[in-house]
Symmetry: C2
Subunit: 345 residues, 2 copies
């Protein structure tokens, strides 16, 4: 079968690999019908050393169950299913609390060496705890939106949930990538009274307005901070959803968060140490929250709004390609020519 | 009148200063009948440069109202009152939300140049928003416990509240100083099912057990972390109350916090940058909370348990002295000979 491999920064190839097959009784084999490239894939695309490659890529996918191990009971051959970006047993103490990304038996697809979603098929471990059946056909027009349940919408939603967004909160979203835009959609869905989107790409911030942003600030750094403060009576917003992951985004978050507020991070931090002392967080009881989204926990909650047409998170996909187009898709996303690339293997 | 001045690290003196008097219509003059030395006073005692001195000291006190400005309505001459360690107007948007330490008109006593609690009297700005009348006489046996409402008990309680302690949480408390011990008492009061106190001074950890600690770990660093993990099924505790403020305490907190858990800091951070990236906080959705306690918000809630005798937070005071004994009190606390020094000016 064919799969996407990253050999190092800027070097993505689609090659023949051994067919994925069921190995464990708890596995399912999923024939991928839709997957995509994640903003987080761009971090290794920008910096990965060749000694760490080649690595199988892709952690967002949906597809049709083709085979199941003998212990699998919740999905069967022919089901259309979506997989979260981490697999999980669904039964450990963390899964039972909804923190599927800290499952004691599961982990991220990105650290599973021989599987990846940007491929023709995937062996899914712990299928009962991981996969969720979708009540549509594989060619449904809802597929792009349902695919976002795998990661990007779940991640935007997690940012908002971890930040405690409700109808009494003002929110700043930092980043107009697909996660940032779906953080806007999620904040709107949870009733936020004001949603300020910080981003510089008009086509993206326009989609952000469509998703519910009440204000757009296209300046960054001190100027952007000053504009957000002006929009919020001088004090900043109760919640900041940080959907980028680099240090300038964190510093911007510190600048726009209100005393007593919370910075909720879902962009994978590209730094380890950062300011959290008296002047930055402590003085005004500013909290820090977030992490990898337990997407699995949110699928059942978010799916009905997609099925009903109330929301259309799949609008973040602006390009569709086959596997052959994946290397160019990485480059186009890195160049900000594409917002998010949908793959139909 | 006499007051405590810090001239630099290790140099505390009690000297004659101009009498405090009412200056603004919103002021009250309080004759101090009980105050104390705070663990946070030991940071400048260890490191303050003489160019930053002399500084008036003390931010925890109670006493008798001796005079009031014309606008003051909630307290009157002769009332016994307690003052939180920050003064506040009680009416701004942050005070109305209970975040009195971020009051737009108030601030900490420590940055008010001509006033301090380790003195014979204090001019209290914004008296209506700041002072709380106590329903006992100035010579009541409850005075030590009521004095803890000014800061140290409110701070321990704030740690527990910001950490979300309830009857379903396991808690680690880092630090066996007075704040740490009252964080234990607060976690117990909020119903925590397990409270592990990390501290090395047996007299203090014994008081911690009396306050509700279920376990004591006297090792630090990797060994201490391993012991806490062993006590918690390998995963650490849902909540960590960090009551020290230095980097080793923060690193210890990272080591004992459970995935999905929260580190609640009330020790004033002696660092600005610290690890908060993928490996430390992000990977397992660990949250960071805490800051200066809005003690004013908690006084009415905590006082009844003191008045009824249900709790006795004043047990943290192990020495009582007059103003003359204050310089020695600092040194004894720095040397860990005293836990917390009560001052009767």
């Amino acid at each position: 079968m064919r799969a996407t491999l990253m050999y190092g920064a800027g070097d993505v190839r689609v090659e023949e690999v051994p067919d994925s097959v069921v190995k464990q009784p708890t596995d399912a084999l999923v024939r991928v019908t839709a997957s995509c490239i994640c903003g987080s894939d761009l971090w290794p695309y920008g910096s990965m050393s060749p000694v760490d490659g080649p690595a199988r890529m892709g952690h967002e996918f949906l597809g049709i169950v083709e085979d199941t191990g003998s212990d699998v009971t919740t999905v069967k051959k022919g089901d259309l299913v979506v997989a979260p970006f981490a697999f999980s047993d669904g039964t450990c103490e963390f899964c039972r609390e909804g923190l599927y990304t800290s499952c004691v038996h599961g982990t991220f697809w990105d650290v599973e060496p021989d599987e990846g979603g940007q491929a023709e098929a995937v062996r899914v471990p712990l299928a009962d705890g991981t996969l969720v059946k979708l009540p549509v056909a594989a060619d449904s027009a809802l597929v792009p939106s349902l695919l976002t349940l795998s990661d990007v919408f779940g991640t935007g939603h997690h940012a908002a949930v971890a930040g405690g967004v409700n109808e009494r909160t003002r929110v700043t979203v930092i980043g107009d990538g697909a996660v940032g835009l779906l953080a806007v959609l999620s904040a709107k869905r949870l009733g936020a009274e004001q949603i300020i989107l910080m981003g510089r790409h008009k086509a993206r911030t326009d989609l952000g307005r469509e998703f519910g942003a009440t204000d757009v600030v296209d300046a960054r750094g001190e100027e952007g901070i000053a504009q957000v403060r002006e929009l919020t009576g001088g004090h900043g917003t109760h919640v900041v959803l940080e959907a980028v992951g680099n240090m300038p985004a964190y510093e911007q978050a510190l600048g726009v968060v209100r005393p007593g507020g919370v910075i909720s991070r879902v962009g994978v931090p590209q730094y380890e140490d950062a300011p959290i002392g008296f002047a930055s967080l402590f003085r005004h009881n500013i909290r820090l929250a977030g992490g990898p989204a337990p997407s699995r926990a949110y699928i059942e909650e978010l799916m009905p709004d997609i099925l009903s047409g109330a929301i259309e998170p799949g609008k973040v996909f602006d390009v569709t390609t086959g596997l052959d187009g994946v290397p160019a898709g990485y480059q186009d996303m890195a160049d900000r020519k594409s917002l998010k690339v949908l793959i139909k293997p």
